[in-house]
Amino acid sequence: MCFYSKREYLIVIFDHISVVAAACSRVGQRVLHLDRRSYYAANWASFTFNGLLSWIQQQQVSETQDWCDLLEEGEELIQLSSQSSIRNLQVFTYTSKEDEVEEASADSVNTTEEEQHGPGETRCAVGSERLSQEVSRTHHSLQHMEIPAEGFCSLNISPIFQSQATITEGAEPEAEQPQSPAIPSQSEPSRKKISFAQLEKEGRRFNIDLVSKLMYSRGSLVELLIKSNVSRYAEFKKVSRILTYRNGEVEQVPCTRADVFASRQLSVVEKRKLMRFLTSCIEEKDDQSAYNGRPYLEFLRDQKLGENLQHFLLYSIAMVTEDTPTEVGLASTRNFLRCLGRYGNTPFLFPLYGLGEIPQCFCRMCAVFGGIYCLRHSLRCLLLDTATNRCKAVIDSRGQRISCSHVLLEENYVHERKNVATPPRFLSRAVLITDSSLHGSDSEQEVSMVTIPPITEGAPAVKMVELSSSTMTCMSGTYLVHLNCSSVSSAYQDLSPLITTMFSTPESHDQGRPSVLWCLYFNMEDGSAMEVEGHDLPSNVYVCSGPDGELGHEHAITQAELIFHKILPEEDFCPPAPNPEDILYDGGSAPSSGPEEEPSLQLEV
């Protein structure tokens, strides 16, 4: 019997719903957070290179059993499935694998726990010991995956295929094995070809996100991080430029005054027109409403802006497509402009160590206020009070009954109950490790947002993010490139034509383009189609969707706030966490050693 099963929980939360967990914990609710995976944040997670290779291997975890013997009188049972939301996974390795000897010797080198964690983890506050233990275990559980040398290998994991649980108690000793060594990356000449063995050796330098998003600097996520003081757990990097792919070339999009001033591709008259358009579109005007319902492109054309500017405004600033209605295009342009200049020359921020840091920050906040975390702990079914149609308890994968008053579930758990009339939408994703930037500049540490309009009729518009090693998401000398679009067909079919034209791969030997060293394609279910309600579930069971395809985090944060207010209608959503020195402990004043003030957001310049 586990220690946590004897207590009654106000809220039991499963998987990645960390913002709600933090918010509930913050206002004094007892929160138990279970995750069937060995890592946090489900599809929001980020992985080291080796971690990602393991993730690719073990996609399916599910088992079904009968738990009726745990029922009490007047109770009923809802079985929970756990279908994976990842499909069409394909991996390509375009770099040679070095001899086994070196790798073997590398494996024997041990590393300290602190190094394993990276700076993010060392700042765990009171109450989070459990969390940091869990985090360290996550790192240890990463396994090596055998990838054939030379050429490429393709892993097709059928989503229907139900494998037996691969993570068992027995797997733990293996997981405790030491990781690849933490050798500080030397500043090698960037042109030197990086081998697969090097990628594996430096795998710890990578933090590869499953989602591809950026933080709008006035978006609801940033505001929430500031408001709740959760921002103290993370650091951020400014996205330094916005690029676009046009006429076969990558160009920089001028979006601030300074950019427009310095731009060499615009004439002075275009500069004036662009600036005037951007300033005028901040205000809503009557002549704009005349275009409501008509395409934004038509509106732009009527402003006599010229081809150059139309492209920039439509695809890179509004980030919409040709048929988007004017009011949507304008709202999107306004949002872009509103976010501009708060922290840097683009409207975006990116968290150091990857987007996976963000849910972990909220987990930390939850833990600081007493939330309990259990990883690799699956949920099997819900126990219903037949009289009230409320969930009274849950049964976990170890057959324990946990009483609770509210339950939050990841959408995959209730997949079968979903309305079949609306088939799930998917996102096509690709992750590339490349050896150079798409658009050279004075700095090798640019963080770029790249907008790519549909390359052919009917093809999706792709959003690409190119991260340099300064974001602590890839080893030095490499760039981590995320591609994301709404699926038309499989991720490979959607994205590989673009990748072969923009990058150099064995299929396209074009000099001067960045070479792809390693590449992963997969489809992920689009969480934006998901509704919080309407799953025919008990009233105190809530469902939270997975990541959506938008660039920002509006969908997730709005949903989290909505769920929070359903659970606790009277409470404030993530009020500011007090400074450590202001907390009163039983029997004495706070230790006065804490930092006096923390900036609202720590920015790496």
Partner: protein
């Protein structure tokens, strides 16, 4: 409310803070008093250095303490080895950095830093330069840092082109920062002289202050990018005007006038000067004459027009011819003129047209450059028809190119300017008046007449009166003039003044005008007899029209005027 974290109340926090402050204050005062005592006793030891450091690190604006610190350091210089001194000063620089973090605009800290840098036995200027870069990246308008940086650049002998690149970078990141543009304007002339192939003599002339054409064209492109991107930003416009501007006029004598009847000589200079110190030499028929030079109005110590009276009888005989030369010894400038037999007066004047006097505001050497600049600004004006900077620059460019043919467009642009920038409408009126007067002067010169007529042109002010020394008839009627300023006394030859339909209430400038005979002031604002007082200094005044002025409503005005101005025969009331 179980499980909630208990947080201190604001009252508790306040109380804690207050106690903390009190404690700090006590320590501070004790340290300060300690420093003052030590200084009084002339102690220059390490402890004093420690104490002042503690105080200054919390309050870097305490000038007395910086002074004391310098005294200590200067004392230590005399007793320590060079290597030790170097170490002490290096530590001082480190300490100053922490002070600048507390207050990046502390006068005391920056001053002390330049003092230390100058005294450092082995200065590391590269480090100082990078410190400035860091400070300016945090606040690109910190003038303390700009000043310090200039000092470092001078000491370090940083090449001009490198500094120019530095301004490129700063302007690139924020083109609204006038500090960077201004710095550029000080660098460009230096760049030119180093690459100059001009002989040294010519290089000293004011025109060498210009920038070579190739660089100039690059600058135009840069600044155009700025004002097209944001035409409301004044930095770029000011820099643009500097680029288009010309070196200042040479100082010289531009006109010499001699009148036989008054036996008076008037000298006009290209700019206001003060010549009383005997630097102006008058030679009449080969003989130097000691004369007393007076400015045209007692209000002016500096004036562009100076007059002197010759001893009575020197040139009064009409049958004599006289050669007159005026030397301005200070500037090696002279003017000659000959008063021929039978002539009442004579003069020698440089023409305003030849000197391009009124183009001096904006005038690069080449007309073609100006023409293309005009086209760009016109293009911008089409896009931004109501932008005041654009309109004003357009006017200036038109004036530089051809003041007369663009007159109509100029007036239209001024009208728009007054509407879009109504706060400065009076400024635009004055500027427009100035340009209209310039145009009238040019027209008068082309016509070779001595009649100056600007009626009904909305003049709000009078200027360039030094160009009107030879004018005999002036017509200023139907304008918005409020006064005839003291400068009006420069019109040495004026006989007839028409100034009806204005708002003139002040005649200060009608002062000792020797030839003034008729003054038409119908429909103005002259209210008292005292306002007419200056007219008593004009000996030849015969005709005065005061109809429609408040002064005519006074009792006994006619008899009072007869008393005040006995020479006036034709008085209209």
């Amino acid at each position: 409310m179980h499980g909630r974290v208990k947080v201190k109340s604001t009252a508790q926090q306040e109380e804690e803070k207050r106690k903390e402050r009190e404690k700090k204050l006590k320590i501070y005062i004790a340290a300060r008093d300690g420093c003052f005592t030590k200084r009084k006793e002339g102690v220059f030891d390490d402890e004093a250095l420690q104490l002042t450091q503690q105080l200054l690190s919390s309050n870097p604006d305490f000038a007395t303490l910086w002074n004391y610190r310098r005294e200590i350091l200067m004392h230590l210089e005399t007793v320590k080895e060079v290597d030790e001194v170097q170490k002490i000063y290096e530590a001082e620089l480190l300490f100053l950095e922490s002070c600048l973090k507390v207050n990046p605009k502390s006068y005391g800290s920056w001053h002390h830093r330049s003092w230390v840098s100058a005294r450092l036995p082995r200065p590391d200027w590269a480090r100082e330069l990078s410190l400035c870069d860091r400070c300016l990246s945090l606040d690109d308008r910190n003038f303390h840092c700009w000043d310090y940086r200039r000092m470092v650049v001078k000491m370090f002998n940083v090449p001009v082109d490198q500094e120019l690149k530095f301004t490129d970078r700063l302007i690139g990141s924020n083109f609204s920062n006038y500090s960077s543009w201004h710095y550029r304007s000080t660098l460009l002339p230096l760049l030119h002289t180093t690459a100059s192939e001009l002989p040294p003599m010519q290089a000293e002339s004011p025109k060498s202050n210009r920038v070579c054409e190739e660089q100039l064209l690059k600058e135009y492109e840069l600044v155009q990018n700025a004002f097209f991107t944001d035409p409301n930003d004044q930095s770029a416009w000011f820099y643009y005007r500097w680029l288009l501007g010309r070196a200042e006029l040479e100082e010289m004598i531009s006109c010499l006038h001699v009148s036989r009847e008054e036996e008076q000589v008037a000298v006009v200079f290209s700019r206001p000067v003060n010549v009383q110190s005997g630097c102006l030499l008058l030679v009449l028929d080969g003989q130097p004459h000691a004369v007393e030079w007076k400015s045209i109005h007692p209000r002016f110590k500096h004036s562009p027009v100076w007059i002197c009276n010759l001893p009575p009888g020197t040139i009064s005989e009409i049958s004599n011819e006289h050669n007159l030369t005026v030397h301005w010894t200070e500037k090696h400038s002279r003017k000659d003129c000959t008063l021929f037999t039978g002539h009442a007066e004579s003069w020698c004047q440089d023409s305003a047209t030849d000197q391009e006097l009124f183009r001096s505001e904006l005038s690069v050497e080449k007309n073609s450059v100006l023409q293309s600049e005009l086209q760009s600004v016109q293009q911008l004006q089409e896009l931004e028809p109501l932008n005041k900077w654009c309109l004003l620059t357009l006017i200036l460019l038109m004036r530089a190119l051809d003041p007369l043919s663009y007159e109509k467009e100029m007036l239209a642009h001024f009208q728009t300017l007054k509407e879009v920038d109504s706060m400065r409408s009076a400024y635009y009126s004055d500027l427009c008046s100035k340009f209209m007067i310039e145009n009238t002067i040019l027209k008068m010169e082309y016509a070779e007449v001595r009649v100056f007529s600007v009626s009904d042109k909305n003049l709000s002010t009078l200027c360039h009166l030094d160009q009107l020394v030879l004018v005999t008839h002036i017509n200023l009627s139907c304008n918005q003039l409020l006064c005839l300023p003291p400068q009006f006394a420069m019109l040495r030859c004026l006989e007839v003044l028409e100034a009806d339909n204005n708002s003139i209430g002040n005649l200060e400038g009608l002062y000792h005008l020797p030839k003034l005979e008729a003054v038409i002031l119908k429909d103005n604002k002259i209210a008292t007899l005292a306002d007419l007082e200056p007219l008593t200094s004009c000996p030849r005044l015969k005709r005065l029209d005061l109809r429609g002025n408040p002064v005519t409503q006074l009792a006994n005005v006619e008899s009072e005027l007869a008393k005040l101005l006995p020479s006036v025969l034709d008085l209209l009331l």
